[in-house]
Amino acid sequence: MANKRALLAVLFSACCALLISGCETTNVGNVMDGLGAIQVGSFRLSESQVGAIKKTAQAMDKAFTDITPEQEYYVGRAVGATLLGKYSPRTEAKAVQYLNLVGQSLARVSDMPETYGGYHFVLLEDDAINAFAAPGGLIFVSRGMLRCCQDEDTLAAVLAHEIAHVQLKHGLQAIKTSRLTNAFSIMATEGAKQAGGPQLAQLTGIFEDSIHDVTATLVNSGYSRASEREADATALVILGRAGYDQRALAGMLTEMKKRLNPQGLDFAKTHPDPADRIVELEPLLAEAKTPAGKTQRQQRFKSVLGSI
């Protein structure tokens, strides 16, 4: 009985350690690797008990943090391929270059300036008001969303919000934990080390379901209100660092509120009411400064994207 309680305590502590530790800094699995058995006073956990705890801790660890940057990249590509199968990208060189310059100037000052495959931004030929961020940094903005942007700073606000979703891994979090747990257990089998085989079919099935989880969230259900709030707050930080007007986010939302059809299948469906988002932003904007250069930026915005 006492043994069982202590075992639970260890498990609890392991979980705490996992929660406390950042995903890139700590690895309880490795830390525990060297332990073998644990002796505390008269109490001893055998090697197999430690092993069992380690497995549980690792399963949790994996589900939350062990999607490697490379795997996130492949998830992002598939989500991107799904979106681009639905909407055509605008390929006009000048617009592409401009959008990516704005995007890069934001991503570079963020807390995650680089991703495995890098940040890439594209305009979609779609009149609905939409913007999507696929895991790993592929970011999509619809023509309808662009029309909510009066200048470069408001466009930057849209992109900063999407960059925030990438960094906060909101897309990946839409994947059901059970899928990842299954994927990791397949990966752990010996067979998975060789190419092909039944494991590949199984993994592909899980991959397909995972992509569905992410795209369904992006296109239909939307993220939680808390995630959107978090992305808005992060966007303000990014805008401020880059030298853009932080108030542009509220400005963009005001314009969106005017244009959004509340019954629409776009942002109206997947995001909180812009008016509510503005209210939540207000305290964060109390000390926002008006940065220089806004007129020059507006001019180049008009000359490149004004006619779209």
């Binding site: 502590s13 890139e24 700590t26 644990i38 681009l84 100037s105 890439h120 594209v122 080390k193 030298g243």
Partner: protein, 166 residues
């Protein structure tokens, strides 16, 4: 008796779990093209590009930036902390980077959702446009274009930046 034990164990685990980064002698590059910069700044001059899985030794740190030396060629520069990971990355299945590498480390290498899974997925799905994704990934902005864009728009000063992250 049960309670002190729990506390003891909690302490033990906290102690074991926290100093992992400090103890780790090297880090792996977690991105495909990791910019090694002359200064610890977002737009600092890029002196080299390090690939996914390359190992670097940490020489110094400043806020979110780490001064590193790559183990392969000894190049030195600053990398953003978010582009590095405290785990071994094994690029090819079956390849072992060092004796005693754990399964946990190996799990990072090329397994799971990879190019092979993508090919399989692509073959069985309709309405996917991977060609456009490939096109999108090829979009690059040059250092010069970036510099000019920032300067003309009154944004961050290219070389300086605000060195945020302190």
């Amino acid at each position: 008796m049960g309670i002190p034990r729990k506390i003891l164990l909690l302490l033990l685990f906290c102690l074991l779990a926290t100093p992992a980064l400090a103890k780790q002698e090297w880090l792996s590059v977690a991105v495909r093209n990791g910019a090694l910069r002359q200064q610890p700044m977002p737009f600092g001059k890029v002196v080299a590009s390090l690939g996914y899985g390359e190992r670097v030794d940490v020489l110094a740190e400043q806020g979110l930036w780490l001064k590193v030396r790559d183990q392969g060629q000894g190049r030195e520069g600053w990398m953003h902390r978010a582009s590095l990971i405290a785990k071994a990355i094994v690029l090819k299945p079956g390849e072992r980077v060092r004796a005693g590498a754990s399964e946990d480390e190996l799990a990072l290498g090329g397994k799971g959702f990879n190019a092979q899974v993508e090919a399989e997925y692509k073959a069985h799905q309709k309405n996917l446009d991977y060609a456009s994704v490939d096109w999108m990934e090829r979009i690059q902005v040059s250092q010069e274009a970036m510099r000019e864009f920032l300067a003309k728009g009154g944004l961050q000063i290219p070389e300086g930046g605000n060195g945020h992250g302190k």
